[in-house]
């Protein structure tokens, strides 16, 4: 396990360093947004899996009444989730602004739709109580690969939107279907 992780880290670093700057020949290294992404993914996973707060987030998603009866302050935990989400959105905004070198108030409009789609495709349940950070990352990877691939194939913008919409519908359908299979209402 540890070996696989170290191999993965060494691999990532060497790939990232394999591309030199055209003028100077110095390796480009790992972009700061990628480092931030790794730190955020590990940090959020730890928060969800290793702390009481994360346990409460899953418990409230599974059965809010039971969580309240178990003495969990549902409102406070919900507030915490929104605060964390806001902080992550702010981080995304900082990265976007830094990349563009400028800011406008309309940046990121409708980005939430693709974010939700990524999470759902990555296994997050819309009914709550299920999902993970690696899953969401995988979902984002699938969505962006699809989008990018279709762009390179020259698929029209309208057709791309339709394809992604269909994928989202399929993911939601799968989520509901498996939930029914598990015996939930």
């Amino acid at each position: 396990m540890l070996l696989a992780w170290s191999a993965g880290i060494v691999g990532l670093v060497s790939i990232m360093n394999a591309y030199p700057q055209p003028k100077t020949g110095v390796a480009r290294g790992i972009p700061v947004p990628v480092l931030l992404w790794i730190a955020t993914a590990i940090g959020t996973t730890a928060l969800l899996r290793r702390t009481r707060f994360g346990r409460y987030v899953y418990a409230i998603g599974g059965n809010p009444e039971a969580a309240a009866l178990a003495g969990i302050d549902v409102r406070r935990v919900t507030l915490g989730v929104f605060a964390w989400m806001g902080a992550l959105a702010a981080l995304g905004a900082v990265i976007t602004t830094a990349r563009l070198g400028a800011g406008t108030n309309a940046i990121g409009t409708l980005a939430e739709l693709s974010v939700i789609a990524d999470a759902v495709i990555g296994g997050t349940s819309l009914a709550g109580g299920r999902g993970s950070v690696p899953g969401a990352i995988l979902g984002a990877l699938i969505m962006q690969s699809l989008e990018n691939g279709m762009l390179l194939l020259g698929v029209s913008s309208a057709a791309r939107q339709i394809a992604i919409g269909l994928l989202l519908i399929a993911a939601v359908w799968l989520d509901t279907a498996t939930r029914r299979g598990r015996g939930e209402s």
């Binding site: 346990r55 998603g61 969580a67 003495g71 109580g129």
Partner: protein
């Protein structure tokens, strides 16, 4: 679970008036109104350690309101709840739990997406020195606690939604008694169980009574009541319409009392 002395000999019908045995819980003239509806009116009941008290009554008789006042989910408009002789007030179920009053709800109140250990420790998680969840420690303890309730329990890792009704019940009961409960409220514990699982719950109730807990049993099933309870309190129209000792009680008497409660003003 802490061993407690069994202070009562439950065969004695005169025990209800005996001053020697300190009541564990005493609800004195409690009332609760919802708007103009008197859900519970001037109801009193006594619960001793090592006793199973059944609460009977038709629908709307005030059983669940009374239970919810004891479990801290509702607070009474008037009247008093005494625990081991001391007056207590519960602002939330958490307060009641801190006083050792645990409830197994009819729907069990489990987080279906979490495993047995996570549910057992829900709201009371152990953490390590670094603030992380102590998963291994909690799982070890949960294994012990649940096997103590149900020796045939096997699946400690799956989300509890994959477990059978009886196994889920075992998790809920283990959770209620693991943290030094003194009073256990069981709301319709056998309503959704098959005969074999009902038997197991009955065994568990007997064992907990032996251990000295005071148990309040809400049930519709007269068979269960006769098999398990030491005393029966019948509610009707929000009032206590009768208290009986089960050994001296016939089915006809009890049914008559429930029906009388149903027509009481």
């Amino acid at each position: 679970m802490i061993e407690r002395p069994i202070g009562t000999d439950l065969g004695e019908p005169s025990l209800a008036e005996s001053p020697l045995v300190d009541p564990l819980v005493e609800m004195k003239a409690v009332s609760k109104r919802f708007g103009g509806v008197r859900a519970v009116e001037d109801a009193s009941l006594l619960l001793r350690a090592g006793e199973v008290l059944a609460l009977l009554g038709h629908n709307g008789a005030g059983k669940s309101t009374l239970i919810r006042m004891l479990s801290g989910a509702l607070s009474p408009d008037s009247g008093e709840i005494r625990l081991s002789g001391r007056s207590v007030r519960f602002g939330s179920p958490r307060d009641a739990r801190e006083h050792g009053i645990e409830t197994v709800y009819q729907d069990l109140a489990l987080a279906d997406n979490l495993g047995a250990a996570a549910n057992l420790f829900l709201g009371r998680e152990r953490v390590t020195r670094f603030g992380a969840l102590d998963e291994t420690g909690m799982e070890r303890e949960a294994r012990e606690a649940i096997l103590g309730v149900n020796p045939r329990f096997r699946d400690f890792l799956s989300p509890v939604e994959r477990l059978s009704g009886g196994e889920r019940q075992s998790v809920a009961i283990a959770r209620a008694v693991h943290f030094d409960a003194r009073v256990l409220i069981l709301d319709e514990p056998t309503a959704s169980l098959g005969p074999a699982e009902t038997q197991n719950v009955a065994r568990q109730i007997d064992r907990l009574r032996e251990a000295g807990l005071g148990i309040v049993l809400v049930s519709h099933d007269l068979e269960d009541v006769f098999a398990l309870a030491d005393r029966v309190v019948v509610l009707g129209g929000g009032r206590v319409t009768g208290t009986f000792d089960t050994p001296a009680l016939s089915r006809e008497e009890l049914l008559a009392a429930i029906v009388a409660g149903a027509v009481a003003p």
